[in-house]
């Protein structure tokens, strides 16, 4: 990382064109794009870039696996709203990024990945560590570049940033041959500016569409807002809230939408879909109008398409024209940036009395709301739901929580209530196990003053646990909750429900996670009962460094309710047991 003197030199590059090597141009351009932290791993084909780093004021985080670099860039982007940057060498370094790139693609996260490649003279010859990474990543990037001339480095990188963050965001990969890194060219940051951003030509919000939407909203008896990740990407939280409050419309959220509408808001129904609460899914199935905001009717939220919300008219407000009528045919499509569309729509929305419908939903909710596992009296067993609930209470709901994939991810979504956007970071679209730990590192770099918690399963944690060493090397404070059920729990649950409890390849032996943390120089504790939860969480929070808690939870617990894949959204496997339990006062 550069000193102040080099900061000045680097900034001078941005104003006065200078002759630089391609490697220097990479960093100078990143500085110009406002990048302060990158996540990477060196190797032969990217060495010139690494060699030039010392001259620039950018902090490089050395990861333990390139997948981690991509997830860190992703976590950085999700937590900050800025573009995350990952760097890797050619061949295996580049291929190791792929899962992370696909994860960002499926969740529309802006990251730029920079890879080195062999010299342009030997491209396509199977040279040592040569791989066609632009070919490999073509379907999982928004765009990618193969750069073999030094003068193209700056324009390609600047264009990459523009693509990554514009419209529907996504990952971009820039592959730079070694000779292009080594040769020199005139670096002119201003001149390397990409052509003006071209909005998708099929974006259109017509007056008639707005009028139609307003009319549908005015006349609806049972409307529901479906709130997705797009709200966060377009910063439309206020607009969605205004719409909901003014027209008294309840709001159901997708997994990636959590935080886009305050959990404590009286109009917030909670998460919809496969593991959404029954009243949320019933409300959608009973609705006469769905207002989909920045969501894409993914199969995990619709269940069977043929039986999905058949009584409802649908308004779809979405930035990506390719999402319109993809899964669900809609009645009104307003294709544009969500915030801009809502700003045009809101003046046409008068106040509305929604109390009858809200009362109906409360009726559907009934006892289900309190029959919840979190309210079970302490039976000496430790349920993951308890852990989530207690974590939420103790952190005041203010932490950035980064979850992995599996049962614990769903329990977190159900029991940790997110008030603010960018406080839940999770892999929704690709469902990538191993995401949490590295993504949390990225999030911590984006928000160094925030409390960051990893919540990972015993399976997924082991996929990227090598990044514990990165935490230590970087001296960052992250708290880690391993929800240790001894199984690949979500798969075990499917085996229990749909494969006659044939637990093939799901029981999992794990290392002693506390010792594993200890081997890295990270403190830890094992928790076996609910009574120990609060103390352990508090100890983790007050520890100066990173801290790991190994929560030994109930082994064969399942996530309820559940809509099995392909079933109608209202056909749910409900929580077992019928005794309504009383909510304890401090759970409110």
């Amino acid at each position: 990382m550069g000193t102040n003197a080099t900061t000045q030199a680097a900034n001078a590059h941005l104003t006065t064109p200078a002759r630089l090597t391609g490697a220097e141009i990479v960093w100078a351009t990143l500085v110009g794009e406002g990048v302060t932290t990158v996540f990477g791993y060196p190797g032969g084909a990217i060495l010139p870039v690494y060699d030039a780093l010392r001259k620039f004021p950018i902090h490089h985080v050395l990861v333990r696996h390139e997948q981690g670099a991509a997830h860190m860039a992703d976590g950085y982007a999700r937590a900050s709203g800025k573009v995350g940057v990952a760097i890797a060498t050619s061949g295996p370094g580049a291929t190791n990024l792929v899962t992370g790139i696909a994860t960002a693609m499926l969740d529309s996260i802006p990251i730029v990945c920079i890879t080195g490649n062999v010299s342009s003279k030997v491209l396509g010859t199977d040279a040592f560590q040569e791989v066609d990474i632009t070919g490999i990543t073509l379907p999982v990037t928004k765009h990618n570049f193969l750069i073999s001339r030094t003068e193209d480095v700056a324009p390609a990188l600047r264009h990459a940033f523009q693509i990554a963050r514009s419209g529907r965001p996504g990952p971009v990969l820039v592959d730079i041959t070694k000779d292009a890194q080594q040769a020199t060219a005139l670096f002119d940051f201003a001149a390397a500016k990409p052509r003006p951003y071209r909005p998708h030509p099929m974006l259109h919000v017509e007056d008639s569409g707005l009028a139609q939407a307003a009319e549908l909203i005015r006349n609806a008896k049972r409307p529901v807002i479906l709130a997705g990740h797009g709200i966060i990407e377009s910063s439309a939280m206020e607009q969605v809230r205004t719409l909901a409050e003014r027209a008294q419309i309840p709001v159901a959220l997708t997994l990636l939408g959590l935080g886009a509408f305050p959990a404590s808001h009286p109009l917030n129904l909670g998460m919809m879909g496969m593991h959404g609460e029954a009243w949320v899914n019933h409300a959608i199935q009973e609705a006469d109008l769905l207002i989909a905001c920045g969501m894409r009717f993914d199969d995990r939220v619709t269940g069977s398409l043929a039986t999905y919300a058949t009584k409802a008219k649908k308004i779809h407000i979405e930035v990506d024209p390719a999402e319109i009528n993809k899964n669900i045919k809609v009645d009104v499509a307003l294709v544009g940036d969500l915030r801009e569309v809502l700003e045009q729509l809101l003046p046409r929305i008068p106040g509305r009395d929604g109390s009858a419908w809200l009362k109906t939903i409360d009726g559907i909710k009934g006892a289900a709301a309190v029959r919840d596992i979190k309210n079970l009296p302490d039976s000496g067993h430790l349920y993951a739901a308890h852990v989530m609930h207690d974590l939420w209470r103790i952190t005041g709901g203010n932490a950035i929580v980064v979850t992995d994939v599996g049962q614990h991810q769903m329990w977190e979504a159900q029991y940790y209530h997110h008030e603010h956007p960018r406080t839940l970071i999770t892999s929704g679209g690709l469902g990538t196990m191993g995401f949490a730990l590295p993504a949390a590192i990225g999030a911590k770099f984006a928000c160094p003053d925030k409390e960051v918690w990893v919540i990972a399963g015993d399976g997924g944690f082991q996929m990227t646990s090598a990044e514990l060493a990165t935490i230590v090397q970087e001296k960052i404070k992250i708290n880690i909750a391993v929800i240790n059920n001894g199984y690949l729990g979500m798969v075990r649950q499917w085996q229990e429900f749909f494969y006659e409890r044939n637990y093939e390849a799901t029981p999992m032996v794990s290392p002693d996670f506390v010792k594993l943390a200890g081997a890295h120089g990270i403190q830890g504790l094992t928790v076996r009962t609910r009574a120990e939860v609060a103390e352990a969480v508090n100890e983790a929070r007050s520890a100066p460094g990173a801290f790991l808690i190994n929560f030994k939870v109930e082994k064969e617990d399942s996530v309820y309710p559940m809509v099995s894949a392909g079933s109608a959204l209202h056909e749910m496997i409900r929580r077992p047991g019928n005794d309504p339990l009383v909510e304890s006062p401090d759970d409110k």
Binding site: H200, A322, K326
Partner: protein, 193 residues
């Protein structure tokens, strides 16, 4: 139904892969694809014909537009347009049986573009059905056709029609100053094929 997409794409390495990959991912077979220079420097024009459901058209067009190197996409569908295909057909023919083929070529308004003692080459431009008509007749004599090379379809809308996208980019090299946008949006339909 048969979809005909006409697209302007940047003339750069890898652009066709991106276009083709989109159809591959949807498991849609590309019936024909022609690409060449357009009236605009740096932009190639392609005509892509494929079979897909009627509803798929909008989504494919929207997805094509999402490709960074794709500048404009038109889904011609059933709108008035001129479609042509070029075929080169090599025939086994000796001086003794040539005359019959010359007659055929005449009838189909094709041309002979190469002639040797054992073979001749026919060039034919036209709509698909006409080219297939000629091929069918030539097939009546077994073993006569040696090679067929077809360009795939090239399609252009009838009338003065420019997309709003290209219009916004400014004129191509050989184009007159822009008339107002509204006038361009509606293509004047010529007589049908």
């Amino acid at each position: 139904m048969l979809h005909t997409f006409v697209a302007y794409v940047e003339d750069l390495p890898g652009v066709l892969t991106r276009v083709a990959s989109l159809f591959r991912r949807l498991n849609i077979n590309i019936n024909s694809l022609t690409v060449g220079r357009s009236e605009r420097p740096g932009l190639s024009r392609l005509t892509l014909v494929c079979e897909a459901s009627a509803e798929a058209g909008d989504r494919i067009r929207a997805s094509l537009f999402k490709l960074e190197n794709v500048v404009d996409v038109d889904d011609i569908a059933k709108d008035p347009a001129v479609t042509r295909e070029l075929a080169l057909i090599k025939i086994a023919a000796t001086p003794r049986n040539r005359a019959q083929i010359f007659d055929l070529v005449e009838v189909f308004r094709a041309r002979i573009v190469d002639l040797t003692s054992e073979s001749l080459m026919i060039e034919m431009t036209g709509v698909e059905s006409k080219i297939e008509g000629l091929i069918e007749v030539l097939r009546e004599d077994e073993g006569r056709i040696l090679e067929i090379c077809r360009s795939g379809k090239m399609t252009m809308r009838r009338g003065h029609h420019i997309s709003s996208v290209l219009n916004a980019m400014g004129a191509g090299p050989d184009m007159p100053a822009e008339p107002p946008l509204e006038a361009l949006e509606e293509g004047a339909a010529g007589e049908p094929e």
